[in-house]
């Protein structure tokens, strides 16, 4: 369960990205975060991920005060979360396969199991034929699917997806949503940030709307 209490985030230069956000996402829930560009969606997801520290407010995840966690305990928490970055954040010097595998290797998983899981994730996103390519030669949509595969391969407790369909055609976008739904059905809490209204409409899930850093009903 994710709980946010009166979260504010002001970036350097006095840019207010979030103000007074209080919300709650249940364990195993599937929610959308929507809003126009610059509304604060990425900021919200990264605060939940723990890579951005809020200026004010508190967060409780699974009963733990998130902002008081010692640095040493951050990696184990990250291993339970999958993040699909808006800008993918793939390592360009490694193959698609290795990018996805890294997410399992940091857990200390054995090579045989890693191989099996990576191939399965690749088949989910339909990229088996690109396994040994570098991310740089892939199309935007292909890179995005690698990012999706890397996040879901570890069967995270929480999946945070930032605009995961931004570069995909409508059919592929829907397929991604099916993948998320399946992951969600196995118990993963899923939070998807998107401004694709048609997608949200089709999925019929709870939607958190942001505008100018504030929650709108």
């Amino acid at each position: 369960m994710i709980q946010l209490f009166h979260i504010f985030k002001t970036y350097e230069g006095n840019v207010t990205a979030l103000s007074d956000i209080t919300l709650r996402v249940e364990k195993g829930e599937f929610v959308f975060v929507t809003g126009p560009s610059g509304a604060g969606k990425t900021t919200l997801l990264k605060i939940i991920f723990g890579s951005i520290i809020p200026s004010r407010g508190s967060i409780i995840i699974d009963g733990r005060n998130y902002l008081k966690i010692p640095p040493r305990d951050v990696p184990p928490l990250r291993r339970r979360m999958g993040f699909i970055f808006q800008d993918f954040k793939l390592i360009n010097t490694r193959t698609v396969f290795d990018n996805i595998a890294l997410s399992l290797k940091v857990m200390g998983m054995g090579p045989a199991e890693v191989k099996k899981k990576v191939w399965k994730a690749l088949s989910y996103v339909k990229l088996q034929h690109r396994a040994n390519f570098g991310p740089r030669v892939l199309s935007g949509g292909e890179q995005q699917r690698v990012a999706v595969a890397r996040a879901i391969v570890k069967e995270p407790a929480i999946l945070l997806a930032d605009e995961p369909t931004g570069n995909l055609d409508p059919d592929l976008a829907l397929e991604m949503m099916e993948i998320f739904k399946e992951v969600n059905s196995r118990g993963t809490t899923v939070v998807v940030a998107t401004h694709d209204r048609s997608l949200i409409k089709r999925m019929n899930k709870r939607t958190i709307a942001l505008e100018g850093g504030r929650l709108v009903a």
Partner: protein, 296 residues
């Protein structure tokens, strides 16, 4: 989750990094090599100068003249002297020997010695003091202790030359320290920056690994392995450069200066020392540079 595979991945990462950044890695190793070479060369020259100067200084001695009636017990007296603090070596010069020496010095004017009996010259002990006491003050201390012995007639030693020697050594040591500290500092600076550059070029990779939940040591160790391997290669290179420079210089340096570039340590010690220095510098250097990049 079991962690037994982490070591495997870390080692693989470290060597893959080396392979992928081969040109930068080689450049770092060369930089480390040249820095250590300059430092080692300086240490070598200084050590040689230092030991030559001390060999020279060890010739400084005191002459203790013995009262005639004690001459018969010379051997026992020598042992007394040898046991005294600060005395390194004692040599007995008998009346005969003293006369012989004098005659040698007066070669060609032996006539002067005509009619003089050899018993006229006193027997003496030639005494060398320990290095720590090779200063006017030190020699005075030793001399005052010896003077207290009842059988001592007189002591002769020059403090003027010792004084000059001591201040020269001090001057040299101060400069060696200054230059040595400067060279060490420069070496550390160059190595730290080389490593920082290598890490900086993979900043994004480090960031992504943090996002994936890699532990601190999981991220750091491959870099430390890389730095260590580079340091060791640099150490070996530095050793080879020392040997090469010795060989090349030996062709040009005149014989009586050759001691300057002689290896004061064994080849094994030279390489051992340089490889160890490279290993520590590379390993510790990358750890220090990393700690500034890593949040956790």
């Amino acid at each position: 989750m079991k962690r037994k595979f982490s070591l495997l991945y870390i080692l693989a990462d470290g060597f893959r990094n080396l392979r992928e950044n081969l040109s930068l890695a080689i450049l770092s190793a060369i930089t480390v090599g040249f820095s250590l070479f300059i430092l080692a060369f300086f240490v070598m020259v200084f050590t040689n100068l230092h030991s030559v100067i001390w060999q020279w200084a060890d010739r400084t001695h005191m002459v203790i003249y013995i009262k005639d009636d004690a001459t018969r017990q010379a051997e026992r007296l020598a042992r007394t002297l040898e046991k005294m603090e600060g005395i390194k070596e004692v040599r007995y010069v008998s009346k005969d020997e003293a006369f012989g020496l004098l005659r040698k010095e007066l070669k060609g004017m032996e006539g002067v010695l005509e009619g003089i009996r050899k018993e006229v010259l006193p027997a003496s002990f030639d005494v060398r003091v320990e290095r720590e006491l090779l200063s006017p003050e030190g020699m005075d201390i030793v001399a005052s202790r010896i003077k207290r012995l009842p059988w001592v007639e007189d002591i002769q030693y020059g403090t003027e030359w010792v004084q000059r020697f001591a201040s020269f050594v001090r001057f040299m040591e101060v400069w060696a320290l200054v230059i040595g500290a400067f060279l060490t500092g420069a070496t550390l600076f160059i190595i730290a920056n080389t490593i920082k550059l290598a890490i900086y070029s993979r900043k994004e990779e480090i960031e992504i690994m943090e996002y994936l939940g890699a532990d601190d040591w999981y991220i750091k160790t491959p870099f430390v392995i890389e730095g260590t391997v580079q340091g060791v290669c640099g150490g070996i290179l530095a050793g080879l450069l020392v040997l090469a420079s010795q060989y090349i210089l030996s062709l040009y340096v005149p014989g009586h200066f050759a001691f300057i570039i002689e290896n004061p340590f064994s080849t094994v010690a030279l390489f051992g020392g340089l490889v160890a220095a490279g290993l520590v510098l590379g390993g510790v250097g990358s750890l220090l540079s990393l700690s500034r990049f890593l949040r956790v």
